[in-house]
Amino acid sequence: MSETQQAPRTSTLDTVAVASGDPERDQPWADLGLKADEYATIRTILGRRPTSSELAMYSVMWSEHCSYKSSKVHLKQFGEVPQETPIGKMLAGIGENAGVIDIGQGYAVSFKVESHNHPSYVEPYQGAATGVGGIVRDILAMGARPVAVMDPLRFGPLDAPDTHRVLPGIVAGVGGYGNCLGLANIGGEVVFDETYAGNPLVNALGLGVLRHEDLHLAKAAGEGNLVILYGARTGGDGIGGVSILASETFESTGPAKRPSVQVGDPFMEKLLIECTLELFAAGVVNGIQDLGGAGLSCATSELASAGDGGMHCNLDQVPLRDSTLAPEEILMSESQERMMAVVEPDHVEEFLAICAKWEVEAAVIGEVTTTGRLEIDWHGERIVDVPPASVAHDGPTYHRPYARPAWQDALQADTAEALPRPTTGEELAATLRTLVASPNLCDKSWVTDQYDRYVRGNTVLSQPEDGGMIRIDDETNLGVALSTDCNGRFAKLDPYVGAQLAFVESYRNVSTVGATPMAMSDCLNFGSPEDPDVMWQFAEACRGLKDACLELGIPVTGGNVSLYNQTGETAILPTPVVAILGVIQDVTRRTPSGFQAGGERVFLLGETREELSGSEWAHVIHQHLGGLPPRIDLAAERALSTLLVEASSDSVVTSAHDLSDGGLAHALAESSFRNGIGVSVALEGDPFVALFSESAARAIVTVTTDNADRLVALAEKHGVAITPLGQTGGDTISVEGQFEVPVAELRAAWSATLPDALGR
């Protein structure tokens, strides 16, 4: 089906034979991002210099983005976490396209978070769009139907001019791609901080659903089985994108890098999804891999090294959008919406027929061999002959130096607890008004209303609820909940504790809506690994997450690392975004975050300490970052989680809301805003600390009066501190002896911030 190729440029073709006969030719390994010792290693592996095609493959596959060369020595420790949940062993874990966990009733889900940070800064719409496309293909490649996405986003200050270029483009890109695929967008984050001004973060989470028997893996097995490339044609987009865009920061003096960003076609991806699911259902797929970063270089080498160890491809059979592409470019191209399948010869006809039904182009480009080599030909001449694992898995491992930064002690000594505080009721009310309207705490519907949250009819909860929730089976009401969280300011103050705080916030959010936390994926966004300060932050964050996983029995299903997120010498806040997935047996028992009716009792669960360092209050009112983050207590988190899940499944509580950014004051405000129901509370101790401290392991819940005793008994049973706060009702938020503010007034301030800054 491939279009006629132009005459091969044999005069310049660098074949294996040419390479053997011309061993000392100068090669542009440095321009391709390789280091001298890495190039020497490649020569050792091959016993000769690489051909230009081989050099292209090694350079993209050994880049930071594909090889995790700086991070893998730290990621290794996640292997210590048992790969099982209370429901059963993980069906696929780290190293696969995406992790797969058993959720019972014969169902499994696949989920994963990935970053697309650098491309989204260069070209916001396409960068963000193809970020969604990439994670969706990862999920699809496991055999799952993609059903939902979430997007944790981080930008520079809301009033910075460049934020007005980057934010609307990224949001439109996330929506433009995801909406067109028919995937419900059920949550995420929108966070502003000046460290992201020259380096926004675009993380994308994908969720897919499958039956156990539908699980597919990325391997090329069975000698003589055919390798089929299907989906979009291969073009010149994103060539070198992986190694160039992800390996270096932006230099203002460097060449324009726009051509390296991929361009997405969501319509093609939608066809690819439906076509692939039909191929799975027909039983004609032996192994499958999506094409993402590093394109064909990645797919061929990974499939071959995971299977019988050999593959032979005719690169001239690849359908091209631009017939002038050289073989090196075809191998490096990151054209979107492509998949590679391994198919038994008897099934090829049916495979191609299904592709034709969906108007998806497909071409047989090679076959599985047992030679142990990845051999690629171009019009009959051998241009690649390598051990596939050496490309896919034997990239360099760096033991980058790391050390606790010299400034860490001074930062931790500069506490926010020492800052001036509001003292009168009026001042407290003014603080609340300022905080609810601040960019990080304000209403995000300007963003989330650009995403389809309803498609497929199974969205039980979506933003602004604490977690997104999807119904998996409408007979049994089995469902899953997901939340993504990270407070980068906490991680800056103490990356070990900060990463754990991200973990427990996500864990708590999932529990708050009524689901039992089951598994974690993460997206670790950090600055340059060549900076020992940053490398220490990364190492500490990994250690923190691993310890939290071990303590709370949560396996890691895989994740993503994004390094070099910095502008000049300034790194972003360390941002280990954590996504926890929970399972809920009956989605009709989910707990909403908004007050449901007046006259209900409001309780605080958990203990409040004087913890203001890194808080939203310190950030907004004093532009201050220093001190120690809130204390972490994993046992308390577990007890609170168990209580919340039980209270949900037994229908004890009518609403529940996690306490995090902005503390109790902001949680009360958000729960009031949801249905316009006010609340009056009386606080013990210092009202400022009670309202604005960001102590972890806390939530507010409401109960009808006749259920109050049941809740108190439940809290006692689980050893969770419980404090009566007051009751719902009226149209104001009132704190006894301090202030009373109309809900409508606060809500108006909360809603106005983003539209005022970005336009209707």
Binding site: A172, G176, N179, C180, F267, K270, L271, E359, D449, G457
Partner: protein
Amino acid sequence: MKIGVVTFPGSLDDVDARRAVTFGGNEAVALWHGDHDLQGVDAVVLPGGFSYGDYLRCGAISRFAPVMTEVIEAAAKGMPVLGICNGFQILCESHLLPGALIRNDHRKFNCVDQRLRIERVDTPWTSAYTAGQEVTIVLKNGEGGYVADEATLDMLEGEGRVVARYLDDNPNGSLRDIAGISNERGNVVGLMPHPEHAVEALCGPGTDGLGFFTSLAAATFA
């Protein structure tokens, strides 16, 4: 009754529409864009989505799908046809309904729980409502601004063919706040909002959309 739901390449809400048809007490039949076959259905829903990626113009390519030949023929003979969102766009491109849908005036995709007033209730899709009934159903689109020339708008108003109108703030710049219209006979209805996303309280803003799928079972329209 048997209600067919057409799947075009890029249709998204076909699953939801089939579920809503079932919830409404009818039998849902999946129809394929490439077949010249309506499989003996009594009515047809053209669902929401981005058929052909909205390339060229929304609905402009789907209008030429093989199955549309049969849909257009059947509609002319009085078969009830409901086009939702992208389906409405396809009905306009097919000239089964007048006017066109253009990009929202604020230039953004918009997904909200929208209040509407149902104004025409003598159609096979709206007979379960009372005239003037206010409902809340999901609105989600990037190109939902209804436009037509003044004479056409006056004709639609004069003949009582405005099926539903937006309440509160106009969400997309639609002329005269029009959310849905019908043909003269009333059997063909195009609606920008998505009633199929408002058929169960658990996964949408209530059940106000169900009437679009119970009307057919409740009344007989020959």
